[in-house]
């Protein structure tokens, strides 16, 4: 394997990491910062992708599609927060798990009801398709570079919002003690509805952006959900920086594991067995990574002790 290929794969890993971060960004707010286990996050991601595909089909404009994705997801998020989630902040994680599990059922089949059972078409806009040549002669898809840019921007903005603004402080305070922050004059209900909607909006944005290079179909949200949880937990709940680093670690592990583990196994067994065994181990790699991190640091890389 040539050095240049290895470098390219490392870039792929990092890029996948940033993409994961983009997908996890909304969840970082809702789960990481607000402390709410929202299994329906994947559904919001799906709603964004479907809204985008639908609008893109109607208007042919990718930009409008993105706007629609964000609007639809934010609206769904706000609605869900006001009708369901609001009653669950005080409840323990169990009730949140059950309620949002129920929401997955409703959203998934509801979407299928509206859009049918076949995958939808959503493609990257003409202007962003094709590749650019990176130093070293690596041809890299332009769209992916744009994704990296958006992911980094979203990350930075989130970090600033949470760590550097008063709103961010109030959100974090609200996770700790809703009653108290309200008694000190903060309209925590409205704030949380807003933040939940923002988290949903980011999920919808990610769904649309990533949906354009993947498939837009019912059920697309669930694998993302699990990955996003993994990312946030590795990084440590509540830490944006942690989520970012967690995402990069997961991206690298997944990408490089998939490539190198079969190669390593080839040193011991025949090619076919090695590919299979290596791939099997590779598909477990991120979960192994996550448990190792948690065994080493029970509250994630940047999490704080309870």
């Amino acid at each position: 394997m040539s050095t240049i290929l290895v470098i390219e794969q490392v870039i792929n890993g990092l890029q996948f990491g940033v993409m994961l971060f983009l997908m996890a960004a909304g969840l970082t707010l809702i789960f990481g910062v607000m402390g709410l286990i929202n299994l329906a996050h994947g559904s919001l991601y799906m709603i964004g992708a479907f809204a985008a595909a639908w609008v893109a089909g109607l208007t042919g404009s990718f930009l409008l599609a993105l706007v629609a994705a964000m609007a639809a997801a934010a609206l769904a998020g706000a609605l869900v927060e006001m009708v369901v989630i609001r009653r669950l902040y005080a409840a323990d994680h169990l009730d949140q798990v059950l309620a949002t599990f129920a929401l997955i059922l409703i959203f998934s089949e509801g979407t299928r009801w509206v859009f049918g059972s076949f995958p939808l078409y959503l493609d990257i806009p003409e202007a962003l398709s094709g590749t650019v040549t990176l130093p070293g002669g690596i041809a890299y898809p332009l769209y992916r570079l744009v994704l990296i840019g958006i992911g980094l921007t979203v990350g930075l903005a989130l970090w600033a919002l949470i760590e550097r603004t008063r709103i961010g402080m109030q959100i974090r305070a609200g996770r700790d003690d809703r009653e108290m922050i309200a008694a000190l004059g903060v309209d925590i209900s409205r704030l949380y509805t807003g933040i939940f909607a923002l988290g949903a909006l980011l999920a919808g944005l990610a769904g649309a952006l990533v949906g354009a290079i993947q498939s837009v179909q019912v059920g697309m949200g669930e694998p993302v959900l699990i990955l996003a949880f993994v990312v946030i937990v590795i990084g440590g709940i509540g830490s944006i920086k942690g989520a970012f680093i967690g995402a990069l670690l997961v991206g690298l592990t997944d990408t490089l594991g998939g490539i190198f583990l079969p190669e390593i196994f080839k040193l011991f067994t025949d090619a076919s067995t090695a590919t299979q065994a290596g791939s099997a181990l590779a598909s477990m790699a991120i979960y192994i990574l996550m448990s190792l991190v948690l065994i080493w640091r029970p509250t994630g890389l940047f999490g704080r002790a309870a």
Partner: protein, 228 residues
């Protein structure tokens, strides 16, 4: 008209009624002590004022019916609360705790740190890792930074060292006199309350059973109702 006006206030936790009729009023610039044995409803009264629990009866601040407002709107009318048990925001640093809910006015972070120098030293430490007393100071600072018209201190000196406690009592007394803040204090330090409060209300089993000027509180009543 009093700043805070409470008449015949009742409240319950589920099926158990905790307040059976509390009367209490405070004028601007006045310090009133709310007294009573453990479990008599002092904290419950505070929670009702702050709209943390539902209640019935008359409950007005500056003429506005608090019963019509949610907790945060009531607070914005000018209530500053130092709650029982501190309840600092654990994940926030000391500065963040102070700033997060601050409202403009004469109490700034600098002034709070002047009153409670320990907070200045621990500015970037997470509240969860503060010592008990430091957390108590933070809770007081946080309430002051909302620049309230009515400051409520529910066991605000619990766990503070005697020296700090004296300083705080001193500051409270000054606050009442100079800035015109109305103050409701609940504390086990009866001696200090007696010194700074002008009036007292005593609760027994959720009812206000005695109220009057501090100097009118005789020893016999105190022994019977408070246990000293």
């Amino acid at each position: 008209m009093s700043l805070l006006e409470i008449r015949d206030l009742t409240a319950s936790y589920g099926v158990t009624q905790a307040l059976h009729g509390v009367d209490l009023s405070i004028d601007a610039g006045e310090i009133v002590a709310l007294m009573g044995r453990n479990g008599m409803g002092k904290t419950t009264t505070v929670k009702a004022i702050c709209r943390i629990i539902a209640s019935e009866g008359t409950l007005r601040l500056g003429g506005t019916d608090l019963h019509r407002l949610p907790s945060h709107r009531a607070a914005r009318l000018g209530i500053g609360l130092v709650p029982e048990g501190r309840r600092c925001f654990r994940d926030l640093t000391v500065s963040e705790n102070l700033v997060a809910t601050a409202r403009p006015g004469e109490w700034t972070q600098a002034r709070v740190e002047e009153l409670l120098p320990k907070l200045g030293q621990r500015r970037d430490q997470r509240a969860a890792s503060l010592s008990g007393g430091e957390q108590q100071m933070l809770a007081i600072g946080r309430a002051l930074m909302t620049n309230p018209r009515l400051l409520i201190l529910d066991e605000a000196t619990e766990g503070l060292a005697p020296l700090v406690r004296q300083e705080i009592w001193q500051a409270i007394a000054e606050l009442g006199h100079s800035s015109g803040m109305a103050i409701l204090v609940i504390d086990k330090a009866l001696r200090e309350m007696a010194r700074i409060a002008s009036r007292a209300v005593i609760l027994e089993r959720g009812r206000s059973v005695w109220s009057g000027r501090m100097d009118a509180l005789d020893e016999e009543t105190a022994r019977r109702l408070i246990g000293v």
